[in-house]
Amino acid sequence: MARSRRQFLRDLLLAAAFAASGITLWWRGRLPSLADGEPTLLALVDTLLPADDSPGALDLGVDKQVLRALAAEAHLSDLARAGLQWFDSAAARPFAQLPLPARSELVARAASADRAKVERAFVDQLRHLTLGFYLAQPQSLQGLAYAGPPMPAGYPDQAIAPQRG
């Protein structure tokens, strides 16, 4: 796992999580477009990382970054279209119109499904992307024992107990 031991691990983690989502060609044609699913995607991103003492993912434009990332790769786009449809059809109302507890309940259902299910693969992918784009922005890091990128300062205090965290 020493990396570039690191690079391999990242690639593996990404690849393994989103394999076998069960999307078939005949089904792909019946799915809504990514643009049509944008309100649902926005609500999902907000559910995953809402605002509290620190900004939420929507405050930092993470939804737009996620959308771009999903649109950039055909297999991710297919997964997203299928996943968004699942979230919009799993309850009586479209996902974006549900109150927060109901949204959380649906996310929990998807996250606990078998890894081969579309909803699980999609919510795992969405969590992966949302966390990445969110925590790459300095405004997201309020309250975290993190002073910013490792360089140029480094950690000259490495041999003593951390000040915070």
Binding site: M1, S4, A17
Partner: protein, 557 residues
């Protein structure tokens, strides 16, 4: 295609071996050209560990900086289910019953894989060089530790290796050039917590200055060696060996240049056919050629250079080019420590446990291992991977948990012996070719019979250490049992005294072609018990090229 360039020596490959060869030869006034298929990197422009989104980027993947490989891997044995790789949030990492090809972790370019290495600077255990005579397995090195020791000394001095004089795991033939780094706070805690288990830790020797050394600043402990060293303190081959070789005026380095074929006549290499970044071919006719492309590309180049006089490939009279392939045997387990330790801080692997490193130190098998902390090498130092891989859930609760636990992620790694056997070798893929139309190297990597048991020992011992440390719940386990993931590869042009059982002699010189040398980890008859190989590669390259320089001076080549 003819060239008028007059070089004494052409070195193919600018990594851990080729750079030391160039430094050695240029320092002796030998006109040396170093070629590499990969690019030149610029540490300030290419390594951006100072950017907010640093964690989303690994070591830069520039055009030409990665080779392509194919593989044939073995089915898995259900008896070793406990060795499977998995992640809390990402599930099984090699689903199914077949071993999966993860990655050959390498960099093509000026400096080679030292550009992204953790700079561990290990001497081999002396007994690991005598497995045949001591234990009846694998092969002996054609010389002993004492023969290599002065070359270890010289390479360490140039690298500025920082280590502890109390280190008695290997005989010291000279002092460490620099004192050891202080262990990180997390490592201090690990050392204290595992004392009751009888675990002995010591400073891991590293080519990272603990104080300013020969123009390099001392380390600031950012932990991101694997993403490339922005500061320029880490002892990568481009800085430490190629820069002085260039400064001598006797060496030229040419990136983005592939060696396509090597041609031989009448007992000697007469031509190296090269292709530049403009895709034009040219030929070089030096007095000698040193191959230092690593244990996959060196045999590939030789096999791709077959001719009527060498139908099995150049220098392959023994049939052993590509055989005896040894890979990385590794486990890595990660979890969350209950206390904030600031684990993102410090060298990637600042301490090491050598207690099981001797070839007979693991009960019931031949071949040892060693243990190291590796949180940042496992890419768990930043908040993104911490949240993605160590934490569950979402929403406000996830954000709160991240605030509480950031700095608690910890990974423990173990690296073990990889024994050569008939089921592990490199050959040419019969179907896949690169952009130059040349067959790719194919990695055939079955497990040697004792490897699963060695991995099992490494895993169990790691679990015990982590438990004593306070990490009872493992969130991620990666092993090379079901994932081929090699940062270190060895053995495919074995050195030895007998031309029927080795490709090159004890100096890396072809038994048949007197002006052809190998200077990389292809030479290793055995891998060692998990030691990082770059220092040994450098010592072998120095020893071989000093011999080459003597031959050139005597006009024996």
């Amino acid at each position: 295609m003819a060239s008028t360039e007059a070089w004494d020596v052409v070195i193919v490959g600018a990594g851990a071996g080729g750079s030391v060869a160039a430094w050695t030869l240029a320092g002796l006034g030998v006109r040396t050209l170093v070629l590499d298929a990969g690019p030149q990197f610029d540490r300030l422009r290419d390594y951006r560990v100072d950017q907010a989104d640093w964690e989303l980027r690994s070591f830069p993947d520039k055009p030409g900086s990665k080779g392509r490989y194919t593989s044939r891997l073995d089915p898995l044995d259900p008896r070793w289910q406990a060795l499977r790789s998995w992640s809390l949030n990402y599930g099984p990492q090699a689903p199914g019953n077949q071993r999966r090809f993860g990655e050959y972790q390498h960099v093509r370019g000026i400096g080679g894989s030292t550009l992204h290495f953790s700079a561990e600077n290990h001497r081999l255990h002396p007994d690991a060089m005598r497995l045949k005579s001591l234990f009846g397995v694998a092969a002996d090195w054609p010389f002993d530790y004492a023969t290599l020791a002065p070359h270890y000394d010289a390479v360490e001095r140039q690298l500025g290796t920082a280590g502890a004089e109390s280190d008695r795991s290997r005989p010291r033939s000279g002092p460490f050039p620099l004192p050891a780094h202080a262990p990180s706070y997390a490592s201090q805690k690990l050392m204290a917590a595992t004392r009751a288990l009888g675990v002995e830790w010591q400073a891991n020797p590293v080519a990272i200055p603990s104080r300013p050394y020969q123009g390099r600043p001392s380390c600031v402990y950012c932990g991101q060696c694997n993403r490339g060293c922005m500061l320029g303190d880490k002892g990568s081959a481009d800085l430490v060996f190629l820069a002085p070789a260039l400064a001598s005026g006797m060496c030229t380095v040419r990136p983005d240049t592939r060696a396509i074929r090597i041609e031989a006549e009448h007992g000697r290499i007469v031509r190296v056919v090269c292709r530049g970044s403009d895709n034009r071919d040219f030929a070089l006719s030096p007095r000698a050629v040193v191959l230092a492309c690593g244990a996959l590309e060196t045999p590939r180049l030789l096999l791709n250079s077959s001719a009527s006089h060498s139908p099995q490939g150049l220098a392959n009279e023994s049939g052993l080019v590509g055989k005896n392939f040894m890979e990385t045997v590794m486990t890595a387990l990660a979890g969350l420590h209950p206390e904030p330790l600031g684990t993102m801080r410090g060298l990637p692997s600042d301490i090491v446990c050598w207690q099981h490193n001797a070839p007979d130190a693991i009960p019931g098998m031949v071949g040892g291992c060693r243990f190291v902390p590796m949180t940042s090498s496992a890419d768990l130092a930043g908040p993104i991977n911490h949240a993605r891989r160590m934490l569950s859930g979402w929403g406000a609760e996830l954000k709160a948990t991240l605030r509480q636990t950031y700095g608690c992620a910890f990974a423990l790694g173990a690296f073990g012996e990889s024994l050569p056997h008939a089921g592990a070798f490199i050959d040419l893929d019969p179907h896949e070719r690169d952009a130059d139309g040349l067959p790719l190297a194919r990695i055939n990597a079955g497990h040697e019979a004792t490897t699963p048991a060695r991995l099992d020992f490494m895993r169990r011992r790691s679990l015990a250490m982590l438990d004593a440390f306070g990490i009872a719940e493992i969130k991620e386990q990666i092993t090379t049992y079901d994932l081929f993931s090699a940062s270190h590869v060895f053995g495919t042009c074995r050195m030895g005294g007998d031309p029927s059982t080795s490709v090159v002699d004890a100096f890396g010189r072809s038994h048949r072609w007197g002006n052809l040398f190998v200077a990389d980890a292809s030479l290793f008859p055995t891998s060692g018990g998990g030691e990082s190989p770059s220092l040994t590669i450098g010592a072998l390259a120095r020893r071989g090229t000093l011999h080459l320089a003597e031959l050139l001076a005597r006009r024996d080549i």
